[in-house]
Symmetry: C2
Subunit: 299 residues, 2 copies
C-alpha cells in the first residue's frame, strides 16, 4: 500500500567539526520519503522554490517518489544551516530562511486522497491539519513534531493529537510536552491527549513504543561512525511507515518490526551527510542490518 | 559455584530531592554481594569499623553471605554522603570519611582462595591486585572501577586489566580511559589493554558487551519510579557474576543472559533507598522481570 508524506522539503547547509556541506537535500519530508521508498510507494506533499536543484528532483524520481503533490513556486527553497558540536549530540541553528515554505498551502492531488497510510512529518501543525482535512479515510495516520511547535503552536498540536493514530517525538520533547521526565509517566499523559500509539525516540539509545500491546524497547543499530545525524528521526519514522504500509496483517502485529526497520534505515542516514548514504543504500543492506540487530539483542 | 567479592563496605547517607536517608548499608561490595546472593553462594572481603550496625551484619547473613573475610577493626566505617539532583542522573558527593578503609589490607581465609568466580568490585586497584595475589587459580575474574582510579591510580589499573577476564565500566569512564566517545572505538582500545570481555554500562539506557562472540546490546528494565540509583552499577555486576557462577556451561554461552539478570537485579536496587528494596526482592520477582524484559524486546 502507499504512504502519503507531508513535511518540509529543504536545502540544508551542515557543518560538523570535520566537514562542511552546503545546500544538501534535506527537510523532514525528503528524509522520510526516501526512507519509506525502500518499502512502499510514496506520495510526497511539499513545496520548493525555483532555485531547487534539478538533481534533487531526479533523486526523488530514482526513489520512485510520486511528485504530483510537490509544488514548485516562484521564490527560494526553505534553507536551514546548522552546526554540530564535537560529540554530535548538540547542534545549533546558524540560519533559517523560510522562503516559499512561509506561505505553503498543501494541495492534495485526487490520486493522493485515498492513500491508506499518512505520515504527517515535522512541519507546522496547521499544515498537518490541512493535509488531514483533504484525506478521504486513511487507515493509519502518524504525526511527528518538534519542540518549536510545542512552544509556539501548542493549541494546534493538541487538536492534531486527537486526529492521529500515532505520535512520534523525542525524549526531550516528551518532557517539554508533559513536564514528566519518567518515560512511563510521559507516555501515559500523551495517550490521554489522543494517540493510541506513542513512540519516544532517544537517538543512539533507540526508541520506546507504547501501544495496545504494551511497551516495546527498540534498539538503535550501533554505528562505528556518525557523519551527520540530521534527518535521522525523519528517516526512522519514514522507514517505519513505509515498512508498515508494505506489510500484510494488523498494525499491532507489525509495528515492532516496523520500528526496527525504521531504526536501521536511520542508521544509514547518520553515516553520511544529508541523504548521501541513504540514497546509496539498497534494500538488501537494510535486511542485513535488521538480521544483525536481531543477533545483537538476543539472549 | 561460589563467587568471591571484594569492594567497599560502607555507610551511605543519601539525599534525593524528596527524601533523606542517613547511614544506609552501602558500598560496592555490599550491593554486589546481595545481588549475587540471589544466584550463588557469596564470599565477602571487606572491612568495617566498630560502629558498623549489627543489623547490617544480620542483613548479610540473611543473604547467606560468607563473612569470614569481613574484618571488623577499631575505628569508623567508611562513610559516604551524597545528593542527587531532580532528574536523578547527576549526583554530587557531600562528604567522604574513609575511616578503617584507609588502611584496609584484604586477607583471604583459606576457604576463599579457590573460589572459581572473582568480582573485584570498585575499590583501589592496589587492593584488587592484593586479592588476586592471594587467589589460587580462579576460573573467571571481573573487575569494576570508577573515574577516581582512572584519574589517580591509572598505572595500577592498567596492570590490573592485564590480569582480568572481564572489565566493567560506565560510558563516561570508558571515554575518560580511552579518549574515544564512540563505543566501538572505546571497546577496541579497552580490549587491547587486556580484558577479553568488556562491558560498558549506560544507566537507564542499558549496557553493551563486547566479547569473543561479538557485541550484545543489553536492555535496562524500564522503571516507573527511581527512588535512589546508588549501587545500581554494583548490583548489575554482582547479579551478573552471581548468575554466571550459578549457571552450567561456558562463559561465552551464558554471559548475555547473565547481563540481563544483572540488569534486572539492578532495577530493584533503584526502586528503594540503599538496599531497602533489593533485600525484599525474591528470586521469583527477578525471574518475572527477566521474562517481561524478553517480551519488551521481542520483534
Amino acid at each position: 500500500m502507499s504512504v502519503l508524506i507531508v513535511g518540509s522539503t529543504a536545502l540544508d547547509s551542515i557543518k560538523t567539526p570535520t566537514r562542511e556541506n552546503p545546500r544538501l537535500l534535506g527537510g523532514s519530508a525528503s528524509h522520510a520519503a526516501v526512507a519509506a521508498s525502500f518499502f512502499s510507494p510514496v506520495k510526497l506533499i511539499g513545496v520548493v522554490g525555483e532555485d531547487f536543484p534539478k538533481k534533487y528532483i531526479e533523486l526523488y524520481r530514482r526513489h520512485k517518489i510520486d511528485l504530483s503533490g510537490l509544488q514548485i513556486l516562484p521564490g527560494k527553497t526553505f534553507h536551514w544551516s546548522g552546526e554540530y558540536e564535537v560529540n554530535m549530540n548538540n547542534r545549533r541553528t546558524l540560519a533559517t530562511e523560510l522562503g516559499v515554505i512561509e506561505t505553503f498551502q498543501p494541495k492534495l492531488p485526487a490520486a493522493y486522497q485515498d492513500a491508506p497510510f499518512v505520515l504527517l512529518g515535522n512541519i507546522a501543525p496547521a499544515l498537518q491539519h490541512s493535509v488531514l482535512d483533504q484525506m478521504k479515510k486513511p487507515k493509519f495516520v502518524v504525526a511527528d513534531s518538534m519542540d518549536l511547535w510545542i512552544n509556539i503552536a501548542l493549541a494546534d498540536l493538541l487538536k492534531l493529537l486527537k486526529r492521529v493514530d500515532g505520535f512520534v517525538l523525542n525524549d526531550s520533547e516528551a518532557e517539554l510536552l508533559t513536564k514528566e521526565d519518567n518515560v512511563f509517566h510521559a507516555l501515559k499523559k500523551i495517550h490521554k491527549l489522543g494517540p493510541k500509539y506513542v513512540i519516544i525516540k532517544k537517538g543512539s539509545h533507540g526508541s520506546s513504543l507504547s501501544g495496545p500491546k504494551g511497551i516495546f524497547i527498540c534498539p538503535a543499530y550501533p554505528l562505528h561512525t556518525v557523519e551527520d545525524p540530521t534527518g535521522a528521526g525523519d528517516s526512522f519514522v519514514g522507514g517505519l511507515m513505509g515498512w508498515l504500509a508494505g506489510a500484510r496483517g494488523a498494525i499491532d502485529a507489525n509495528i515492532r518490526r516496523a520500528m526496527v526497520y525504521g531504526s536501521v534505515t536511520a542508521s544509514f542516514c547518520c553515516e553520511g551527510f544529508g541523504l548521501n548514504t541513504t540514497t546509496k543504500t539498497k534494500r538488501t543492506d537494510i535486511e542485513k542490518r535488521v538480521k544483525e540487530l536481531e543477533k545483537l539483542t538476543q539472549f
